[in-house]
C-alpha cells in the first residue's frame, strides 16, 4: 500500500517513546492478563466513564465532528493520563474491560456503551498519525483491497463528482480508495459521501474510519453479549464479595452528561433561590419548589428529584440543609427534621452511606417515574392533566400560541420537546439541542440570561458615555 503524505502532526495520545508505526489504540481483542489492584479497577473505570460521558454530552449538544475531535482529545488527556508511561496502555485496556462488565447486562446499557466506545474509537483514530492509522488498518486485517489504478481511472470522474458534492478539495491522483460492500459503511451511504456502484462503495482513505467503526462496533457488540453470559453464569457469583458490588455501583450511574458537579455556574446562594427558581427552573422543578414553599413538605420522590437538582445547580450542602430545614421544621419541627430528614440530604451529597454519588435525575428518568397520590415529582408535561398543565404554563408566562404548540407535543407524547418549546417561549431564544436534563435546562437558561445581562450592561455603559 502506498502511503500518501502525512495529514496530521503527532498524535497527542501517543506516549513519549512511541515507535512511529505502532498505533496506541488497542483493539481489545482479548482480555488482558494483568494484575489489577482493586482500587485501580474501580478508579480506572470511573475515569474512562468520564470520557464516555463527556462524549455523550458533546453528542447530545450537537457538537460538530471537529469539535468532537478536540473534546475527545481533551477528555482523554485529562482522565486517562498516568504518571507512568507503561501504565497508560494498561489503564486503557483495564478500564475498557471493567466497563464491559458494567455495561453488558442490559440492552439499553449495552447500546449506550457500544455507541460511546465506537465514537471514542473514531476520534482517537482520527487523532493518530497517518502511519499509525495504517498500522491499525493492518491490524484489523480487513478483507478489502485498494482499488487498482486501472479501475480508479474508470470511475475517477464519479469519485471526483462525489468529492465535489460534499464540498471537499479534489483529491490527488494517488488517493487510495477501498471498494467495500455498501452495507459496511451505512453512515457514508446515508449521507451520500461515497460513490456506489453495483453494491460496492468506494471508500476513500480519509473515510476508512467509517469502515473500521463498523468492524469495531460489531466485534464489541458480540463481545458484550458473551461477557453478559459469562457474567450471569460465573462472575456474578464468584466475585460476589469483590468485583460484583463495584460493578453494580458503577452501573447505576446515570448515562448522560454529568451534572452532579455544578460546573458552569459555580454556586447559588439561598437569598437568590426564589428569583432563580422563577427565571431558570424547568417546570418540574419549579413545581416542586413552589409546593415545598407552600406545604413545607415534600414526599421522598420529590425530595430526591428536587434535592439532587439543587445540588447540581450549585447549592452547597450546608445551604441545602438550611433550605430544607427552614421549610420542614415549620411542618414537622426542627428536631424531627434533624432526626429523619437531614440524613437523606447529606446522603444525596455523598456524605452518608457508601460510595454512591447521587447524580441529578435526567428527563428520561423523571418522565418514566410513577408519582402516586400526594407526590409532586415527575414531569408535568407527562403527569399533569391538560387543564393543570395549561394553568402552569400560563403562570410561567408562556403565550397562547406557544401553549398550543406545547400541548400538541404533549398529545403526541413528546414531553421533552414540549419542555423545549416552553424554554424557547420563555427565553425568546432557541434551544437546538433540546432539553434532556433539568440541569441542562437550568444551565442553558442561565447562559442566555447572563449574556443578556452583559449585553444590557454594555448598552448602559454606552448610553452613559453618550450623555
Amino acid at each position: 500500500m502506498e502511503i500518501v503524505g502525512s495529514r496530521r502532526k503527532n498524535s497527542s495520545f501517543s506516549s513519549a517513546d512511541d515507535a512511529a508505526v505502532v498505533s496506541t489504540i488497542p483493539l481489545y481483542r482479548s482480555a488482558p492478563e494483568l494484575e489489577v489492584r482493586l482500587d485501580d479497577f474501580e478508579l480506572y473505570a470511573i475515569h474512562r466513564l468520564r470520557v464516555l460521558k463527556g462524549i455523550s454530552d458533546g453528542l447530545s449538544r450537537g457538537k460538530k465532528p471537529n469539535e468532537m475531535e478536540n473534546l475527545t482529545k481533551e477528555l482523554w488527556k485529562v482522565n486517562m493520563r498516568n504518571s507512568e508511561a507503561s501504565e497508560v496502555a494498561n489503564k486503557d485496556i483495564i478500564s475498557h474491560y471493567v466497563l464491559r462488565l458494567v455495561y453488558c447486562r442490559e440492552e439499553e446499557l449495552r447500546k449506550w456503551f457500544l455507541s460511546m466506545e465506537t465514537t471514542l474509537f473514531r476520534y482517537r483514530f482520527q487523532l493518530e498519525t497517518t502511519d499509525a492509522q495504517r498500522a491499525l488498518l493492518k491490524e484489523f486485517d480487513l478483507p478489502y483491497k485498494a482499488v487498482s489504478n486501472a479501475e480508479y481511472e474508470s470511475v475517477k470522474e464519479k469519485l471526483n463528482q462525489v468529492v465535489r458534492s460534499i464540498g471537499q478539495p479534489l483529491s490527488s491522483a494517488d488517493t487510495i480508495y477501498y471498494k467495500v460492500p455498501f452495507e459496511q459503511v451505512p453512515d457514508l451511504v446515508a449521507t451520500r459521501r461515497v460513490f456506489i456502484f453495483k453494491g460496492y462503495a468506494y471508500v476513500a482513505m480519509n473515510q476508512v474510519v467509517s469502515l473500521l467503526m463498523t468492524q469495531y462496533r460489531s466485534h464489541l457488540s458480540k463481545a458484550l453479549v458473551l461477557t453478559n453470559r459469562k457474567w450471569t453464569s460465573m462472575i456474578l457469583e464468584q466475585e460476589k464479595d469483590r468485583l460484583t458490588p463495584i460493578v453494580e455501583a458503577l452501573s447505576t450511574s446515570y448515562l448522560g452528561p454529568d451534572y452532579s458537579q455544578p460546573r458552569e455556574y459555580g454556586e447559588i446562594s439561598l437569598k437568590d433561590i426564589d428569583q432563580v427558581a422563577k427565571s431558570s427552573f424547568p417546570l418540574c422543578m419549579r413545581h416542586l419548589f413552589e409546593k415545598l414553599r407552600e406545604d413545607h413538605h415534600l414526599k421522598h420522590g420529590g425530595r430526591m428529584q428536587l434535592g439532587l437538582f439543587l445540588k447540581g445547580v450549585g447549592l452547597k450542602l450546608d445551604d441545602a440543609l438550611a433550605f430544607w430545614k427552614a421549610e420542614f421544621s415549620r411542618k414537622v419541627g426542627a428536631e424531627r427534621f434533624d432526626k429523619e430528614y437531614a440524613y437523606g440530604i447529606r446522603h444525596n451529597y455523598g456524605k452518608e452511606g457508601k460510595r454512591t454519588d447521587y447524580t441529578p435525575y435526567s428527563c428520561q428518568k423523571i418522565i418514566s417515574s410513577t408519582p402516586g397520590v400526594g407526590d409532586h415529582h415527575g414531569c408535568p408535561y407527562r403527569h399533569f392533566s391538560e387543564e393543570n398543565l395549561r394553568a402552569a404554563l400560563d403562570k410561567m408566562g408562556v403565550g397562547n400560541r406557544a401553549v398550543q404548540d406545547v400541548m400538541d407535543k404533549v398529545r403526541n407524547r413528546h414531553y421533552q420537546l414540549a419542555c423545549t418549546l416552553t424554554f424557547e417561549a420563555i427565553h425568546g431564544a432557541s434551544c437546538d439541542a433540546g432539553i434532556n436534563h433539568p440541569n441542562q435546562y437550568y444551565n442553558d437558561s442561565k447562559n442566555i440570561l447572563e449574556s443578556r445581562v452583559r449585553a444590557t450592561r454594555m448598552v448602559d455603559t454606552l448610553m452613559y458615555a453618550e450623555v
Binding site: K158, Q161, V162, R164, S165, I166, G167, F182, E183, P186, D187, V189, A190, T191, R192, F195, I196, F197, K198, G199, Y200
Partner: protein, 454 residues
C-alpha cells in the same frame, strides 16, 4: 372502512352462478366491490401457489440446504370486512394459506417479516426465554403515495389520481429502480400498483432481505432528498459544488426532461400568479424574482406554451447570473427536484417489521387488483386500465377461465400480470435463490470438514 359499498348481493350471486348453468345474455357485473365478489376472486383468481413460491425463496425444494421452516415463519396479517385486524398469521404450505384466505376472505392481506420463530406461536417461545421472537428477514420495501405530492399537483388532491399526475409515480419508479439496480446492485425487484393512489416496491435479493435496520435506513436516506419543512415550498436544498452522481443521473436522465417537457405544462405551473409565485418563492434573490415578475406582469399573449416560455425565463436568469454564486444557479435543480423527485414514506423502509400489502389484493375502494408494474415499461402503465374485480367476474361469466393448471388465467385480463410476475420476477428470483442455497450449503459442509481436520 368499506362497508357502505357492499350491497345488492343477492342478485349478483345468481349471475355469478350462471357460469355453470346457462349464459345469460348480459354478462355484466355491476361495478364495485363486495364480499361475495371477493370470495369468488379468492376462489378462482388469487395466485396462491405463486405467492407461496415467492415467499419460500427456494426453501420449498428438496435440497438438503433448504430451510423447511422458512415459509412458516413469515407473518401475514388480514384486515377483515368489519375492520378486524388479525396479525401474526402464519402458514406452513399452500393449502393452509389458501384455506385461511378463502375462509376469512380478508379485504386486505399484508405481508410482514420472517421471524426467528413461527409468529403464531410467539407466546409459547416467549416463555422458554431462549428463542427470542424477532424479525430475521424482510424484503427492502418502499411505499410511495401520491397524496404526498399534494403541494405540487393541481389536478387532484388526496386519494385521487389522473393521467396528469400519475406520471409522478412513473418518475419515482424510474429513479428508484435504477438506483436499486445500478447503485446497490439489486436484481430482484417487484413493483406493484397499490390499487389506488401509489406504488409499492419489494426488493427481494437475499442480501436485501438480510439487511439490518441500520442498513435499510442508510439506503432510505441515500434515496431521500426532501426535507420536511412545512413553512416553505422549497423542500429540497442541494449543497456542494455538484450533485452526487446518483442525483445527477436522476436529474439528467429522468427529472429534467419530465419536468420541462411534461409537468410544467400539464400542471400549468406558470399559468397564473398564484402558481408561479410558489416557484418564485424558491428563489432567494429579490432582483431576479422582481425582474421575472415584471416580465410576466403584462400577461401578453405568446404563441408558445406560456409555461414553457416562463420556465425558460427562470432558467435563463438563474443560470446566467454568474456573479451570484452557486446557490442561485442550483436553484433550477432545486425547483425540479422539489416538484418531481420521489417522495418516500421513510419509516416503512427503515424497519424490518413494517407490513406491506400483498400483490394481487383487491383495493376495496376501487375494486382494482394490485398488479405488478414492469419498470421497463412503466410509462405504459395506466391505473384506469387495471383489471377490476367486476371485470374479472364478467370474464368468468363469459367462460374465460381455463380448466385448471398453470395457464388457467391466461385468457382473463389478469393473465398478463400473472405472466409478468412469473417470467420476469419469480423465475429469475428462484434461480438465484437455488444457487444461493446450494453454495451456502457447500460452504457449510466445507467448513465442518475443515474443522474436523483440526
Amino acid at each position: 372502512m368499506v362497508r357502505e359499498e357492499v350491497g345488492e348481493i343477492g342478485r349478483d350471486d345468481m349471475l355469478i352462478d350462471g357460469v355453470e348453468t346457462e349464459q345469460k345474455p348480459n354478462n355484466e357485473v355491476p361495478d364495485g366491490f363486495n364480499v361475495n365478489y371477493l370470495k369468488i376472486y379468492y376462489g378462482k383468481f388469487f395466485p396462491y401457489a405463486d405467492m407461496h413460491k415467492w415467499m419460500s425463496y427456494g426453501n420449498d425444494g428438496k435440497h438438503p440446504g433448504c430451510d423447511q421452516s422458512y415459509f412458516g415463519r413469515r407473518e401475514f396479517s388480514f384486515t377483515l370486512d368489519n375492520d378486524i385486524y388479525l396479525r401474526f398469521q402464519s402458514f406452513n404450505n399452500v393449502p393452509e394459506l389458501e384455506n385461511a384466505i378463502k375462509e376469512k376472505c380478508p379485504f386486505k392481506i399484508d405481508i410482514g417479516p420472517v421471524y426467528s420463530v413461527d409468529p403464531a406461536k410467539r407466546h409459547a417461545y416467549a416463555q422458554s426465554g431462549d428463542n427470542v421472537f424477532t424479525p430475521v428477514e424482510r424484503e427492502l420495501i418502499f411505499d410511495i403515495d401520491i397524496s404526498d405530492y399534494d403541494d405540487v399537483r393541481f389536478c387532484c388532491s388526496g386519494a385521487d389520481v389522473c393521467p396528469e399526475c400519475w406520471p409522478l409515480m412513473t418518475v419515482t419508479i424510474k429513479v428508484i429502480d435504477t438506483a436499486l439496480r445500478d447503485d446497490f446492485g439489486f436484481n430482484h425487484i417487484l413493483w406493484v400498483y397499490s390499487g389506488r393512489r401509489g406504488v409499492h416496491c419489494w426488493v427481494c435479493d437475499g442480501k436485501a432481505r438480510r439487511m439490518t435496520n441500520e442498513q435499510r435506513a442508510a439506503i432510505t436516506e441515500y434515496l431521500h432528498v426532501h426535507k420536511g419543512n412545512e413553512n416553505s415550498l422549497k423542500k429540497v436544498t442541494l449543497v456542494g459544488q455538484s450533485l452526487h452522481p446518483f442525483l445527477g443521473r436522476s436529474y439528467t436522465e429522468v427529472l429534467k426532461d419530465f419536468f420541462e417537457e411534461k409537468f410544467i405544462s400539464s400542471q400549468n405551473l406558470f399559468s397564473d400568479e398564484e402558481r408561479y409565485e410558489k416557484i418564485l418563492e424558491m428563489i432567494p434573490d429579490e432582483s431576479i424574482t422582481s425582474e421575472l415578475r415584471g416580465k410576466w406582469q403584462d400577461n401578453k399573449r405568446v404563441r408558445d406554451d406560456i409555461n414553457v416560455v416562463r420556465w425558460s425565463h427562470v432558467k435563463h436568469l438563474l443560470q446566467s447570473s454568474k456573479h451570484k454564486g452557486q446557490g442561485i444557479r442550483k436553484c433550477v435543480e432545486e425547483i425540479v427536484f422539489t416538484f418531481t423527485y420521489p417522495r418516500l414514506d421513510l419509516e416503512v423502509s427503515k424497519h424490518m417489521n413494517h407490513l406491506l400489502k400483498a400483490p394481487f389484493c383487491i383495493h376495496p375502494k376501487t375494486g382494482r387488483v394490485c398488479v405488478p408494474i414492469d419498470p421497463k415499461h412503466c410509462e405504459e402503465f395506466d391505473p384506469s386500465g387495471v383489471p377490476t374485480l367486476s371485470k374479472l367476474l364478467e370474464e368468468l361469466n363469459m367462460g374465460a377461465l381455463g380448466t385448471g393448471g398453470e395457464d388457467e388465467l391466461d385468457n382473463t385480463s389478469l393473465g398478463e400480470s400473472i405472466r409478468y410476475f412469473r417470467t420476469s420476477f419469480l423465475q429469475p428470483l428462484l434461480k438465484s435463490c437455488k444457487e444461493e442455497i446450494e453454495s451456502s450449503y457447500t460452504a457449510k459442509i466445507q467448513q465442518s470438514k475443515n474443522s474436523l481436520n483440526w
